[in-house]
């Protein structure tokens, strides 16, 4: 009986003897595995990106915007015209009695402003809001502190800078304790936001945050001084999002004295809806790409079978001789199966090398992130070996069944 080591040795010898043919054999599997790694990586990378982007906006979030989304012209109102949302609305929504499922409320006004400090000038969105904003948006302060209720009450001229604004106005310095000029007013910098990166739509590091009252009085002049651009609501939990939605809707309809819900002058958008849509899109993408990769692996497997059949035909004399010298049908079967397995494995490993290499290059050429997961890579190699083995069964059993005299004659 031939030991496993002997079988392995004979198989490696055979593969090494026919190097170029072996390489051709594994090409299909190699490309298939590389494709699997890149496509799955792209899919997972974009899914991770979407999830991160959405969750960085805040969890359990509801966004109240002025204007109706059901109206004929799409979203009405908004920047430039007087908003239908006011600070009073925000105060009403913050009532734990009337809206028990809403845990935090942050009204927001926002405007792009020119700003300067020392000799440096910059332009960035200035966000006027209240202390809960930090928690709702899942932001962190890396230096100093955030605005307080007292800042809001007395409309203090204080500002918190995003990292990019800080880098532009105070390159290489800690901005906390310094002064910046926004639209002719001086603000003292009391905090620096930790970097949050870019979401799908906005650069969250290129922002300045000030108390909403200060923003209303100093920056958004000409507009109704109590109106706000958005009200951010945080539901108590994932499960209470729809309850929070109902409560906010009822409260605002009442506050705006609207009796027919379809005539609402505001829109409430649950953030989860955004998340679900986004992840389901990227899931579909991953699924599709994986399907394509699977088909290419199947084609690779058929390639292995074809070339192994050629190899069996070409090596009829060798098979016959081995049989004459005492190789049992099983020993021949094992030898060819081992060869097929090793070819699959080699294709898988080369494919992983190619796939990982491409995964490192792709993000540099495009903006798509590629996620590499070790289990996926191990899985790909195992699948490749399995494909080699599966598609090697037919050629191997053909070789094992060859009659020794027919095999010896063929030369």
């Amino acid at each position: 009986m031939m030991s496993l080591r002997e079988t392995l040795r004979a198989s490696i010898e055979a593969i090494a003897t026919h190097r170029s043919r072996s390489l051709l054999t594994v090409l299909g599997i190699l490309i298939g595995i590389a494709a699997v790694i890149i496509t799955v990586g792209l899919g997972e990378g974009s899914q991770a990106k979407v999830t991160a982007a959405v969750s960085s906006l805040g969890s359990n979030l509801l966004v109240v915007s002025p204007g109706s989304s059901t109206g004929t012209g799409g979203v009405r109102g908004g920047l430039g015209s007087a908003s239908t949302l006011t600070l009073a609305d925000a105060t009403a929504l913050a009532s734990h009695l009337d809206a028990p499922d809403i845990s935090a409320v942050a009204p927001v006004v926002q405007k792009n402003e020119a700003m300067s400090a020392g000799g440096n000038t910059w332009s960035a969105p200035v966000i006027g809001t209240t202390p809960p904003y930090l928690g709702i948006r899942s932001r962190q302060i890396s230096f100093g502190s955030f605005i307080t209720s007292a800042d809001v009450t007395s409309a203090n001229e204080v500002a918190i800078l995003g990292t990019e604004v800080s880098a532009e106005l105070f390159p290489g310095q800690n901005p906390v304790g310094q002064t910046i000029n926004i639209n002719g007013s001086s603000f003292s910098v009391i905090g620096l936001l930790a970097s949050a990166g870019s979401s799908a739509t906005t650069n969250q590091d290129d922002q300045v945050i000030v108390p909403i009252t200060t923003a209303q009085s100093l920056l958004v002049g000409g507009r109704n001084r109590t109106s706000v651009d958005q009200i951010l609501l945080q539901a108590k939990s994932q499960n209470s999002v729809s309850a929070a939605y109902q409560e906010a809707n009822a409260l605002l309809l009442q506050a705006h004295q609207i009796t027919t819900p379809s005539a609402a002058d505001f829109t409430i958008t649950p953030e989860t809806q955004l998340l679900t849509t986004a992840t389901s899109v990227s899931k579909t993408l991953t699924f599709l790409l994986t399907g394509i990769a699977a088909v290419s692996l199947l084609v690779g497997g058929i390639g292995v079978m074809n070339i192994m059949l050629v190899s069996v035909t070409e090596r009829i004399a060798e098979i016959g001789l081995r049989k004459a010298l005492g190789a049992t049908p099983r020993a021949i079967l094992r030898q060819f199966l081992t060869e097929a397995l090793l070819l699959g494995l080699a294709g898988g490993i080369l494919g992983v090398v190619l796939g990982v290499g491409a995964s490192l290059i792709v993000p540099k050429l495009t903006s798509n992130p590629v996620a590499l997961s070790v289990p996926a890579i191990i899985g790909a190699v195992v699948v490749a070996a399995g494909i080699g083995l599966t598609f090697g069964v037919y050629p191997a059993s053909r070789a094992a069944r060859l009659a020794p005299i027919d095999a010896l004659r063929g030369d």
Binding site: A317, G320, L325, A327, T328, A403, P404
Partner: protein, 278 residues
């Protein structure tokens, strides 16, 4: 790994005489069926005792290779009985036949049949691989076999780096290395020049003197006569059997002395009229 454990050699009643190495009776081999059937061997009897040096000689197409395949357990007979070293091997399956080939037969082929991608010593090791001998012992035994055929300095050469005669000597070393019961050679000099042929045949004589059983198959009387016993075959049956002096009596390389044994001549039509018919 001793032979006697799983392959009992028949002993005579008195325990002295071993059974013949090869014992064939009423052997028939038919290729194909129906109209296309070709009967290559038609009722052949042959007994070869241990230590004999036998050559089977016949013109082309008379069934030599067919007989060799059956003796070598590469093929099974259509009917009849074949006992190898006392064991009936006429009806074994592929796996059992493979094991018997490995342990009892050392093949030498006309086309050498060496694996091109292996060195001489690795080629000689092959039968030991299938016998389950460990790599260390294998190498030692293969080197010893190569040394015996005078190729100690060519161990690591590939077949393509060796002359035809050297290749056939590697093949002979491969046949020897398992210490087989029978060395079976089918036209071993068919692809060699006369000097190499003489050398190769010399080796067979050497093995015979060392007590081995050698069966040499050939169509050349010059080759056949190196054996101590010559069996002549024609159309699938034995038509002469004896020492070469008797078979080739007085006539060099012709077959004059090896007239077919008494055969009913009535069967063959003297007039050429029936030649076109089957």
């Amino acid at each position: 790994m001793t032979v006697s454990q799983d392959f009992p050699v028949e002993q005579g009643r008195n325990g002295q005489r071993t059974a013949p190495v090869i014992e064939i009776s009423e052997l028939r081999k038919t290729y194909g069926t129906g109209e296309a059937a070709v009967e290559a061997i038609r009722g052949l009897d042959l007994v070869v005792e241990e230590g004999e040096f036998l050559s089977v000689m016949a013109p082309s197409g008379s069934g030599k290779s067919t007989l060799m395949h059956i003796i070598g357990c590469l093929d099974t007979p259509t009917s009849g009985r074949y006992r190898l070293a006392g064991r009936d091997v006429s009806n074994l399956d592929e796996t059992e036949l493979a094991r018997i080939r490995n342990r009892y037969i050392g093949f030498v082929f006309q086309q050498f049949h060496l694996l091109r991608h292996l060195s001489a010593v690795s080629n000689v090791e092959l039968p030991l691989v299938y016998a389950g001998v460990n790599p260390g012992d294998r190498r030692v035994r293969a080197m010893e076999a190569l040394r015996r055929v005078g190729l100690a300095d060519r161990m690591h050469h590939r077949p393509t780096q060796l002359s035809g005669g050297q290749q056939q000597r590697v093949a002979i070393a491969r046949a020897l290395v398992t210490d087989p019961t029978v060395i079976l050679a089918d036209e071993p000099t068919g692809n060699l020049d006369s000097a190499s042929s003489e050398e190769v045949l010399g080796w067979f004589g050497e093995f015979h003197r060392a007590g081995r059983t050698v069966v040499l198959i050939t169509h050349e009387p010059d080759v056949a006569k190196v054996a101590s016993r010559v069996v002549r075959m024609r159309d699938g049956v034995v038509v002469g059997d004896g020492p070469p002096e008797l078979i080739f009596v007085g006539t060099g390389t012709t077959f004059a002395g090896a007239a077919p044994p008494a055969q009913p001549q009535e069967g063959s039509e003297p007039s050429g009229g029936s030649m076109g018919h089957r």
